[in-house]
Amino acid sequence: MKSVLLALWMTLFSVVAFAQDFATRFMAEHQQDANLSCITISPTMMNKILKSDAAEKDEQMAEMISNLKSMQLLTSKTRVQRYYREALKVIDKNSDRFEPYLSFKGKLEECKMMVRRRKGTIIEMVMLTKNKHQFSVINLTGIMSDDFISQLAGALKQKHS
């Protein structure tokens, strides 16, 4: 009986432990760190955004946001290299969850984007960026289909047209 309960607790623990996005996991390892700032947008707030005045004005943006469940932004202006490396380590440790999506290496900056899929659909997106001044993580969760990605890619062009 005891061993059954123990097994159930471990299952629960493992399931609960993994039901976190990248940013939460990363922050868990940097709890006392004052250099890292974290901005959280919960599902509740996402819903509020969609109903807000600002969102009404930009239909296309609102439509993209409607796919999102949450967003977390991590930034730090110091120890940029170190945080970037540590973030990559966390990705590596969870290599069965995240697959590389794209990467870019320029003279002044480097970025890597990873996605987590479930039954083919992207349910989490993690973008790590570093440049001379800042380390940042943009972490989205939601249902992001291929349509969403092409919309996202097109968003900038639209703005400029």
Binding site: L5, I41, A54
Partner: protein, 170 residues
């Protein structure tokens, strides 16, 4: 008198197939005076087993034991049993909580339409104002868009270069 029943019980007794009831019956039977000759060899055993139930310690043991106990304070015992009385309740509550949580997780994992298994309960919103939050989200999406385009254009440039190279080689 029919001793078939007893003979049967006896046979099963040696095979350890008798119940406690039946064993009690055997002891009762052999305690009576009239035991037939062919069953006499077994009488002593069952009489012995019966009588042994009466052996024990005397009253003086009780008083000696109690005096040893009474050295320790009685108050302590009562307080502790109160706490330990709740232990089974706590244990039960823990098990119930476990199952509730598992059920909750299972629900989200299997029944949820959007197949997302994230636990958002601990998310603390940074902003109160949705308009401000909107600004942050849209700018983040713009940054993402920028990076996607940058990487696409470099890969485009790369593939163009590769084509050019292969043309030159030909």
């Amino acid at each position: 008198m029919d001793y078939k029943n007893i003979e049967e019980l006896l046979k099963r007794y040696w095979e350890c197939e008798t119940s406690l009831e039946e064993e009690s019956q055997l002891r009762d039977f052999f305690s009576k005076e009239e035991v037939p000759a062919h069953l006499l060899p077994y009488k002593d055993l069952f009489v012995y087993l019966n009588k042994q139930q009466e052996t024990g310690l005397g009253e003086d043991f009780d008083s000696r034991m109690m005096s040893k106990i009474e050295v320790a304070p009685v108050v302590k015992a009562k307080r502790l049993t109160l706490i330990s009385r709740f232990k089974p309740l706590f244990r039960a509550a823990a098990v119930i909580t476990l199952f509730l949580m598992l059920g909750n997780v299972a629900q989200h994992t299997f029944l949820s339409n959007d197949a997302l298994d994230y636990n958002y309960n601990n998310y603390r919103d940074t902003y109160d104002d949705p308009d401000v939050a909107y600004k942050k989200v849209s700018s983040a999406l713009m940054i993402l868009s920028e990076e996607i385009n940058k990487s696409q254009s470099t890969s485009l440039a790369d593939s163009l270069k590769a084509n050019a190279d292969s043309v030159v080689k030909e």
